[in-house]
Symmetry: C2
Subunit: 279 residues, 2 copies
């Protein structure tokens, strides 16, 4: 048992689909020495509009798969999974499955960074319906920074716009303007907006184009990467278990060819993917 | 065994999500005397961009569930399932599962109606990527009407537009115009367009608005309903097995409250739904 625990293995990065690739990209860039396994549950994506129960079940399937691959550390690079499944997996499942392993999310690192940006104390969050309805950002931000006021806006059509490669084309304008308008109508003092969905960095040029001047946009990948770096510094026992050959392997629950095509939109490089089953 | 077969039961109507409700609506209107069970596999929807293998597996799960509910006749009111799974289920699975039961699709009835509309002999098809890439409409139309020329156009963002209640709002204009333009650029002699996705009837007002005059649009529900009526007339042994209390029950693999809300967009009436598992 001790031998297994000490065996080195890649860091697992999970997303329902492709969005987590924006997070992987930042993590690879900051921590290129480690090995990574990326898994997209494309056969069951998107998670954004799904129920708590379904998201929890699907995410647990993924975590079990990573543990079966001997990963010691798994990042849920998916806001919906982080919002709806992470806490239960950390508190209920991990102690039973293997208390020496860790599952981390993307919401906490983003939230920790936010106070350094706002002057008005008014924060906006764009996310999927699942993330916004769960109020995870509101809850996590208020826990750390009780003086901040958080307002969410669900943008359910932004993921389809990205995944259909429309994110930099004129048809996206209406929907980017629409949700900026809706958010600022709810709170016109917002000076900092979190992109609370890993797909949204691909829309950042348009978002910045239509935002009033002086409003900052926080994209998660960078903060998740920095937070992972700090985590590994604070936990040398975990760091030792991470293998270090600088490789990335990609896995999907649906067609690997389609995954590879779509991944090139997010990564701006060509990759190969392997099909696996997790349910 | 004979007793079970003769027991009357509802007609099953299956879709990956909500789109099949446009078909159910037409069937109910033409054949109000029968009982129906509608199942939306919302936990795993949308099927449109999924692989053949996954769509086949998911559809088979649904058919098995209906058979477990004692349904003798199941309509796949889903173009993707009809395109990717119907033939294998009819030819491989049904003989093994129960040769007395029937599974029908939505493509054949639509295709049978098309020749009566076109004068130029040039047909267009709008559908999801799955339906268009499968070339099911081309193949089925050419089988029945070898003189017709069929051109497909995948409109993958139309389903998200419908499901996000944007189908009658200005943001949909760009994407409706875009796909009409793309289709007619491929073949400017098209005078008849099939809406090869059960979601698209909700976009029909906009589609007609942006189509050049003289091009007709065929929405499937009506033809599927007429075809079912004829099928039951030709197969009195099946007709006898259909229960006739004029009821409809709704089932979903995800949250029933969400299903009910969304169904009201499609049915213009309030319904109640029940959650079930099929995988």
């Amino acid at each position: 048992m001790a031998g297994t625990e000490q065996q080195q293995s890649p860091i697992g990065i999970f997303d329902s689909g492709y969005g987590g690739l924006t997070v992987l990209s930042e993590i690879k860039s900051l921590l290129p020495q480690y090995d990574y396994m990326y898994l997209g549950d494309n056969a069951r994506a998107p998670y954004g509009n799904r129920s708590f129960e379904i998201v929890y079940q699907f995410t647990k399937d993924a975590v079990k798969w990573f543990f079966g691959q001997n990963c010691h550390l798994v990042i849920l690079a998916c806001n919906t999974a982080s919002a709806k499944a992470l806490r239960t997996i950390q508190q209920v499942d991990l102690p039973a499955m293997d208390p020496s392993r860790r599952v981390l999310g993307v919401i906490r690192p983003t939230v920790e960074s936010v106070a350094g940006f706002t002057k008005t104390g008014h924060i906006g969050v764009f996310g999927t319906s699942g993330t916004i309805n769960s109020q995870s950002y509101d809850i996590e931000i208020t826990k750390l920074h009780p003086h901040l006021k958080v307002t969410g806006e669900a943008c359910p059509i932004w993921v389809p716009l990205v995944e259909n490669n429309e994110f930099d084309k004129p048809g996206a304008d209406y929907f980017v303007k629409q949700h900026i308008h809706n958010l600022l109508k709810k709170d016109d003092k917002i000076d900092t907006i979190i992109l609370g969905c890993t797909h949204y960095p691909l829309l950042i040029t348009k978002i910045k184009q239509f935002l009033p001047q002086g409003i900052q946009v926080i994209s998660q990948g960078k903060y998740v990467a920095e937070s992972l770096k700090e985590y590994l510094q604070r936990h040398p026992e975990m760091e030792k278990r991470c293998s270090k050959d600088g490789t990335v392997r990609y896995f999907t629950t649906d067609l690997p060819g389609k995954f590879a095509d779509m991944a090139s939109l997010f990564l701006k490089e060509n990759i190969e993917a392997q099909k696996i089953n997790i349910d």
